[in-house]
Symmetry: C2
Subunit: 293 residues, 2 copies
Amino acid sequence: MSALRVPVLAVIGVGLIGGSFAAALRRAGGVGRVLGIGRDPNSLARARELGLIDEAVSAAEAAQRADLVMLATPVGSVGRLLAQMRPHLKPGIVLTDAGSTKAEVARAARQALGQDIGCFVPGHPIAGAERTGPDAADADLYRDRNVVLCPLPENPPQAVDLVRLTWQDCGARLIEMDVQLHDRVLASVSHIPHFLSAAYMAQVAGEPDSERRLGLAGSGFRDFTRIAAGSPEMWRDIFLSNRSAMQAELLAVRAVLDQAEQALAAGDGAALLQLLQRAACARRDWRLGSTES
Amino acid sequence: MSALRVPVLAVIGVGLIGGSFAAALRRAGGVGRVLGIGRDPNSLARARELGLIDEAVSAAEAAQRADLVMLATPVGSVGRLLAQMRPHLKPGIVLTDAGSTKAEVARAARQALGQDIGCFVPGHPIAGAERTGPDAADADLYRDRNVVLCPLPENPPQAVDLVRLTWQDCGARLIEMDVQLHDRVLASVSHIPHFLSAAYMAQVAGEPDSERRLGLAGSGFRDFTRIAAGSPEMWRDIFLSNRSAMQAELLAVRAVLDQAEQALAAGDGAALLQLLQRAACARRDWRLGSTES
């Protein structure tokens, strides 16, 4: 029996998220061999060159050999990958993921794994960066960042413990909540900002004089729209997979926006000031990486 | 007759905008004496310590002595200051401002200056920073940044030339447009982002579980809401003084937002992808400081 936390780690998707997970665990000394799984042979070759993985294998082989499997692929692919692995699962294997939505992922996992669902512990590291691909992998990506685990009732405690401990090895802070609460909170602080930023950016870009507008845009515009440059395919999948929570949040955002517009239309400086003060105070008090939960 | 571009410069408001203007012109060697005008004695004393100004005077004295006066104060104060200066204007004096809206400022200036309106050339440097006050002043703030001038029909060419040349001495790029077009463009790329960011931030902060939400917010949230931390008083004044252009822009933003919400509600991945791609392509092509006009 090995003293290593994870004798064999498998990472599906060897880009920023999966590659950084492998790099952080390897540096912490908790893993033996690292298997890489992916659709792009160039990414797999590059991940091997960079020492992120030791060899590239199929999802089925990973299921046979790994002690822990990290699915670091778009949320829409989790069900398919789990279905491929299910016939081959090594006894005691633990699977987890890094997807941005959790209720839909848990639903797909239940459908794919059936009675084996207990081995899948849904997770979500709140970390990312502009860059993608194996070259973006960074052993420090998760240091002091929040990772949400959403254990399922079927998960044995030792499965949840293993996932928790590996994230702690990466330097992350763990928070646990159920999948529905996770999705409501992330709709609010991650998916809605992206939705608003992209809709706004699309509006400006679609105006006949968009070049003139964009030529006079400054640093406020730069920051407000930075997220709108993110992967359209990834965000489409996130929006669709978290649709109901996003719709509920959009209603709440619309209500405040309506109030603000009414104050503007009425020339009500006191109401505008109150809203701006509420926003400014809350934003000045906020710090990235803090957590109260 | 002095060989200096501006033998006596007066700056009303000795903070980031006014202080940086004085510092840049002083470094370029184009100014003789710099007069500072402001309501806060501590700021004036600090500006003198820092060498941004040579002495603190009243607005009336500045009008008597200066060759160029920069009004770097909130947009709501321009009319009052011009009215104070009007009885004392030195022949040939040129006045300009740095306010974020121009139609309202031009209207207030016409009312305050009457037949003397020709000496006031409205302007707007598209530059700023998080910091405020004399200590934030930076001789490089305007380097390679856009400055919009909105000359009035009453401005003699030599008044516009003087303002243009001093901004060029600061390293800025000059763009000219009329006050209405300026206000429409700035509503689109500056005031609306602030309005959306603040309304969104106020919504999140007002939810009963706002602490939990804010604890899980990441770098996308950080950038999207950065501008919401700006001065509530300044932004209230900007919103009120650019109300009609903002209302027109908000209608256009709402229309795109409605389309996006309908696509989300319908689970229409193709429509969502199209919108996200339009936004991502436009944002990836954009660079701060570029201008096409």
